[in-house]
Assembly symmetry: C2
Homo-oligomer: 306 residues x 2
């Protein structure tokens, strides 16, 4: 093998590669020892980290890549950044330590001023589908932190990449509103959550993926131990920084049945047999008790481990 081609394979392994022309970007990952949880499979945070990395490399490896995290050149000139508003992740099977997986990602227009990004994670060798995900994004001025329309110059950069393909079929897409949890409804509350220094990203804000740990933290240990999450929808509403303190709340939407008997299969957003559903709210704790701004609303679905 020539030195160059080995280096090429290495670069592809490390950063990913375009497929189907410029429509699909694919990156290969191995699940590492520190990316698995107590049950020895990849955590949901790990999965979201992989999705983020693939998305950023997708933009960064294309000719339109700018100098920011996922920004195009025309966005960088205007100090514009992408902000994710909603993400839905469906997990068919969690990978184990050492498994080699491949992630495809692509983008499409979403309404007049948004972008949709989808992902499919497959086992690299068997090509079994493991995870499907979809997300919507809007544009923000990184300095004023105000939402804005997609400028025509940015739209021109993006459009050639758009492909009308859905990772999650229309009928399985969770487009339902996530209701705002109230103090009365919440059955599980964990308060006084504090971001650690290393939860911050390069913008001095808490990285989106870190929220998941807090969202899950308030669930009963039995749920985290005896069930695996089959679906998660996150709705991002506000940024938070190192100085914020947070509160995580949850309420079961279906009757909590932690022993797995009577596995009733109600009208789930997921094709997989679902045993539990929770609604979540992560909110800021302010000095003023009446003001607890929402950071993330979420819905999770769980399946009993056999």
């Amino acid at each position: 093998m020539k030195e160059d081609s080995a280096e090429e394979v290495l670069a592809n392994c490390m950063h990913g590669k375009f497929h189907e022309g410029i429509f699909v970007y694919r990156q290969i990952f191995s699940v590492r020892s520190y990316e698995i949880g107590p049950d020895q499979t990849a955590t949901i945070e790990t999965i979201l980290n992989f999705l983020q990395e693939t998305a950023l490399n997708h933009v960064g490896s294309s000719e339109i890549g700018g100098d920011g995290f996922g920004a195009t050149r025309e966005m960088s000139i205007r100090k514009l950044i992408w902000v994710v508003t909603r993400i839905q992740v469906q997990v068919q099977r969690y990978s184990a330590w050492g498994d080699i997986i491949e992630i495809d990602t692509w983008v499409d227009a979403h309404g007049k001023n948004g972008m949709r990004r989808d992902w499919v994670i497959r086992d690299h060798y068997t090509k079994e589908d493991l995870v499907r995900a979809t997300s919507t994004w809007v544009m923000m001025n990184g300095e004023t932190r105000k939402l804005c329309k997609i400028p025509e110059e940015v739209r021109k950069e993006l459009t050639p990449f758009f492909i009308n393909r859905f990772a999650i079929s229309n009928k399985d897409t969770d487009s339902e509103k996530i209701h705002k949890l109230t103090d009365q409804d919440a059955e599980n509350i964990q308060t006084g959550l504090v971001p650690r220094w290393n939860d911050m990203d390069a913008n001095q804000h808490v990285n989106n993926v870190k929220y998941i740990g807090w969202v899950l933290e308030c669930l009963p240990a039995e749920v985290l131990e005896d069930y695996y999450m089959t679906s998660m929808t996150l709705e991002f509403r506000r940024e938070c920084t190192h100085s914020n303190m947070l509160e995580s709340m949850a309420a079961p939407t279906s009757k909590l049945n932690i022993h797995g008997n009577n596995n009733y299969n109600y009208n789930s957003i997921n094709n997989i047999n679902t045993n539990l559903q929770f609604t979540h709210l992560l909110r800021l704790l302010d000095d003023d008790d009446d003001q607890r701004p929402e950071v993330v609303r979420a819905r999770t679905e769980w399946h009993f481990k056999n």
Copy 2:
């Protein structure tokens, strides 16, 4: 290029490969977007995660690999596990997102009943040394959690891999005792630290690397923002689980000089010009106030960012 050789390169990229016969194991990593901190370079946790992954793949890829995390076959039969007692990490330069690095690791005997494991991290393309690390390990019965001698059968498995080579030269090795911080000495204390569900490893114990976040958490924000860590020595004294609550304490060993003037270079364990040194203690918070068992003692050194 043949399909096979591409798959071989892929496997090497993902899991690593032996070099110099069976003496050195090398794995290549790219630093990912979620592995960098607020200053856009790999965090010290990321570096320790990489070291752990390389060590585990080293054992797992060899013929003596057992079914546990880093255990050999003869260890697995006896339910023996490795426990790290001390690790010293010297950082010359922190990598940035997308950088491709290679990590070499090897092992040697340490005294009569220990093992030493060393690592060197280099930039894959320039071969510049970035990090050097050394650690000592002892054997524990995974069920009784008691330390034990290395059985003869295990020693026979390990000895062929031993190589007398030091990542950190003798004079730069931090073999000095880390003094136990007292309540009187500690200048920075952060109490009520609680492990999150995902801090647990496959053994339901807090993963060693997670301690670092807590060790650093109590330092003044100015240190974390304006300095980078050049050296860290951790001494592991006790395991902790999900039900424990912890307290992190620190005291500057040299005079705190956060504006970087008068950069006196005292007798550092590190060749790099050092501006700050801290002694740390992470301890359990028990109901009984007098009993606060030590989890980790640490010493860190910091250099002012120019």
